[in-house]
């Protein structure tokens, strides 16, 4: 029997059958691969944290090293308590909920604290991990990555060449505010606090700068800085998000895009 492929009934039935088949196929693929994918993401997150601690995540056994060296802790009521939930793979929401994760690591160079930070770049989200030395005053290492920054430009924040620029920088400036920042490529004036940005990716670099100062100021109690000082004053970028910044010296939000 020859079907009339132009009839309405045939078209409808064809469309319905096609959609059902495709839906089952995709649902099957998705559920079959879900566990593997989640394990990959968790493993990758651990690798990122190890990267901030100057491990080469491609060279070490991420699972084993993480389990051996790093402890997932929460900063609560002025002290670090062990975290007992499932390992998280993104920390933006946790920080918003006031759940401040700190990864305490024992490395060959002593005790380090890794702080997760999240922010926005030019096209999408950014995140990173900043490892501080035991005195919490200087940066030991850092790791950043992005959702969808431009390949070859903003995406270079994911390269160790950029991340290594943060090493040994100081977190606090003279007035106990967070002075660690990223400046436009080639315009570093203050070697101790400023990190050279990426040529051709000023907006992504600004995003990293805002993420770092914003992220660290959320952990102000932990790293021991005045909570307010960090966000008011010259730092107009991060003022916009802050409702508690009602001081007169907090300038109107200037457009971050240049």
């Amino acid at each position: 029997m020859k079907w009339n492929t132009n009839s309405n009934v045939y078209t409808f039935v064809y469309a319905i059958v096609m959609v059902i088949i495709v839906a089952f196929l995709l649902a099957f693929v998705s559920s079959a691969l879900k566990n593997t994918q989640e394990a990959n993401v968790a493993n990758d997150t651990k690798g990122q944290i190890l990267s901030a601690l100057r491990f080469d995540k491609k060279a070490v056994d991420v699972q084993a090293t993480f389990a051996e060296k790093v402890q997932d802790k929460l900063f609560k009521d002025g002290e670090l308590v062990p975290y007992e939930g499932n390992f998280l793979t993104s920390y933006g929401q946790a920080i918003k909920d006031g759940e401040l994760h700190v990864f305490e690591a024992t490395t060959d160079d002593g005790v380090k604290y890794v702080i997760p930070v999240t922010g926005r770049g030019l096209w999408g989200g950014l995140w990173g991990y900043i490892a501080l030395n035991e005195d919490k005053q200087t940066v030991y290492g850092s790791y950043f990555y992005h959702e969808s920054e431009t390949a070859g430009l903003g995406a270079r924040i994911g390269e160790s060449e950029f991340q290594n620029r943060f090493q040994d920088k100081q977190v606090f400036g003279e007035n106990d505010d967070i002075a660690l920042t990223v400046v436009k490529a080639g315009s570093v004036k203050d070697e101790a606090h400023q990190v050279d940005g990426i040529t051709g990716a000023t907006l992504t670099s600004n995003g990293v700068a805002a993420m770092v100062s914003d992220g660290l100021s959320k952990y102000a109690d932990f790293i021991g800085a005045p909570a307010q000082g960090a966000c008011c004053g010259e730092k107009s970028d991060c003022c916009a998000e802050k409702t508690e910044c009602e001081n007169a010296d907090c300038p109107e939000r200037t457009n971050v895009e240049q």
Partner: protein, 208 residues
């Protein structure tokens, strides 16, 4: 065997590489050619992913071509492409996580690549699966080589690197050579694609 590689089938494979190149002649798929070519590695991975997906979607559409209702054929084609892209992206995430992170948004962008729909509509709807497979691979590779050329030029002159390794010797920089910042801008890839098209047409004119 001889039938499988008849003149016609060979042409289905080799035409898109040169005389009927999707980018240089038909000027399709330009959008992604601009977006992913600032460095060589994403350009190559994108080229290969598109090749795999054009090949498979061509075969699938060709297999069901006689049953597809004419009035919703574009929708059917789109569903096939979108399903394939989703499955490929899920597989990448599960088994080669590093590559999927590297590709990030580009995998999704493949759905919007005009070459795919163009080949499905123009070739797979009228031809048998085997020539369709060859046509798909040919078009994918024809797209890939232009991407690689553009990525090569842009990475070399824009960053002084290839695959991330420095290739421009240091003494040139000491003599005052600098990387061309224009090369990393998307606008420059349009100009390079233009130059590729120019060179390609000039060359093919001599051939004829």
């Amino acid at each position: 065997m001889s039938k499988l590689f008849s003149e016609e089938n060979k042409a289905a494979f080799s035409n898109p590489l040169n005389l009927n190149n999707p980018i240089a002649v038909q000027v399709l798929g330009i959008c992604s050619a601009l977006a992913v070519t600032s460095q060589l590695k994403p350009a190559i991975v994108m080229g290969l992913s598109v090749t795999v997906i054009t090949a498979f979607s061509n075969v699938i559409i060709s297999l069901i071509r006689k049953s597809i209702p004419n009035r919703i054929r574009i929708i059917v084609q789109l569903v096939v492409v979108a399903t394939l892209v989703t499955i490929v992206s899920q597989l990448l995430k599960a088994y080669v996580y590093d590559v999927s992170v590297q590709l990030s948004v580009y995998v999704g962008l493949i759905i919007t690549n005009c070459i795919l729909m163009g080949r499905l509509e123009a070739f797979a709807m009228q031809n048998k699966p085997w020539p369709s497979l060859l046509d798909g691979i040919g078009n994918g590779l024809g797209y890939a080589w232009v991407l690689v050329v553009v990525g090569f030029v842009r990475e070399l002159f824009g960053f002084g690197t290839l695959f991330g390794y420095n290739v421009i010797p240091k003494f040139l920089f000491d003599c005052g050579y600098t990387n061309n910042g224009m090369m990393v801008m998307p606008a420059m890839s349009l100009i390079i694609v233009g130059c590729v098209i120019w060179a390609h047409r000039a060359y093919n004119k001599e051939e004829k």
